[in-house]
Symmetry: C2
Amino acid sequence: MADLRPPEHQVAGHRASVDNLGPLVDDAGLFYKPLQAGDRGEHELAFYIAFSAHPAVPPRIRDAFFPRFHGTRRIPTAARPGELYPHIVLEDLLAGIAAPCVADIKIGACTWSPLAPEPYVAKCLAKDLETTSALLGFRVSGVRVAGQGGAVWRPERSELKGIDTAGVRGVLRRYVSSCGGDGPDCALAAAVYGGDWGVLAQLRELKAWFEEQTLFHFYSASILLGYDANAVSAPGGGVRVKLVDFAHVDEGEGVIDHNFLGGLCSLIKFIADIVAEASEMASSGH
Amino acid sequence: MADLRPPEHQVAGHRASVDNLGPLVDDAGLFYKPLQAGDRGEHELAFYIAFSAHPAVPPRIRDAFFPRFHGTRRIPTAARPGELYPHIVLEDLLAGIAAPCVADIKIGACTWSPLAPEPYVAKCLAKDLETTSALLGFRVSGVRVAGQGGAVWRPERSELKGIDTAGVRGVLRRYVSSCGGDGPDCALAAAVYGGDWGVLAQLRELKAWFEEQTLFHFYSASILLGYDANAVSAPGGGVRVKLVDFAHVDEGEGVIDHNFLGGLCSLIKFIADIVAEASEMASSGH
């Protein structure tokens, strides 16, 4: 376990330290997520167990859009010395990416289940109204953009919390811009968002599943976007679209996840607008 | 104005009487909606004025899915004797239907705008959680089914308020069943919900618009379904899908109406499931 370390490119949640439990990664491409406190950790683990074996989940959806589940493991942590703390073991979604550009986007106007207890609902609702969740159907929880020459843009969480619609548009533009220029140039919009297996194509495939699937309701889950700034023009480009954070997943009981689906459609529209703008700018020679 | 009368087939809202203002219809196919109290009436009127002239609304969407707007008129009412009360004048969506079958379905998990004042949000949220709105993304506000021989099924509003997911499925089945049998037979599911211009095809066209349109957010609006029980097998069948009730519409400001869209997708799934079941039952000879 000597190679366990906090992921360099983590953009949301606590960072593992002597003060906090946090995710760890190893050289074998595994991601260790400490079991969350209360019943959240057990709830997330139960989701992974149910989801990874569910006969009604298309293998293509599971493989393309979810981290592979490798069970649980008890490992030593800096935050709990002298103890082996239980972790959910997952595929490290950003393994092998040299210059990771990552965005964590929490999907859904409501981050709380209608079945959740009242004080929890009130707390989440207040946050949904303060952030862009209620208005846009999603909020950007974290972002990291690595540019040429090692420059990294990684706004503070407090900075992201205060942004409005225009701010979200700005972040989604900057996510596909070369670092260090005067404002976002969207130079990578076509390569990362567009194309046959870019973000937009992947989000649309995910949307088609959400129009049909009535197995799970993904409250407070995120879509993680990732690409490699050093390999974006390579075939495939390494563009990844994955769902993460399943501590608040409900059973669907025959009803689609209209909350996630609505937010996903809103995100698709934002990204499609950026691709269209970038394509117009390119064709007009700017 | 001698021919003004409350619509026979009204399923939601106050009925016009000496005690209450309510909608009226005339023989010319017009529907008179009294201006609602507070700023709701003015807000709804402002929506109709903006919407009916908006250059970015496709004429096909306006004509197919919205009541035609005919301005305002001040008319005498039983509730306000000696006064001419202002009404919004609209197309009577059910004019010319001999045996109207109507369902009023309020769309959206949230019936309140994130920009609405706090006490209003709390009141609406409580209702969204008590009814099926939060869980299903829509609730059935009213329904009327006219069967052969004059039989009519029209549950009380209080009865509809208490229904759960299975109850909603039951109402949507009964809406396309012949009256008076032992439970819903879904005999009209293919004719009303299915087909080239049935409810499902119309809802899907509406959905395609909602995936793109960023002009309006339709909080607390309803989809009104209507068909003529006496003419359901006629060409066209008179199946109608219309949006109504615009007292809480916000400007979209470049963002799609993910709340309405999510609820609409959920309704589509419910109805598609009923069409599929009915088709299986028909092909298995039951």
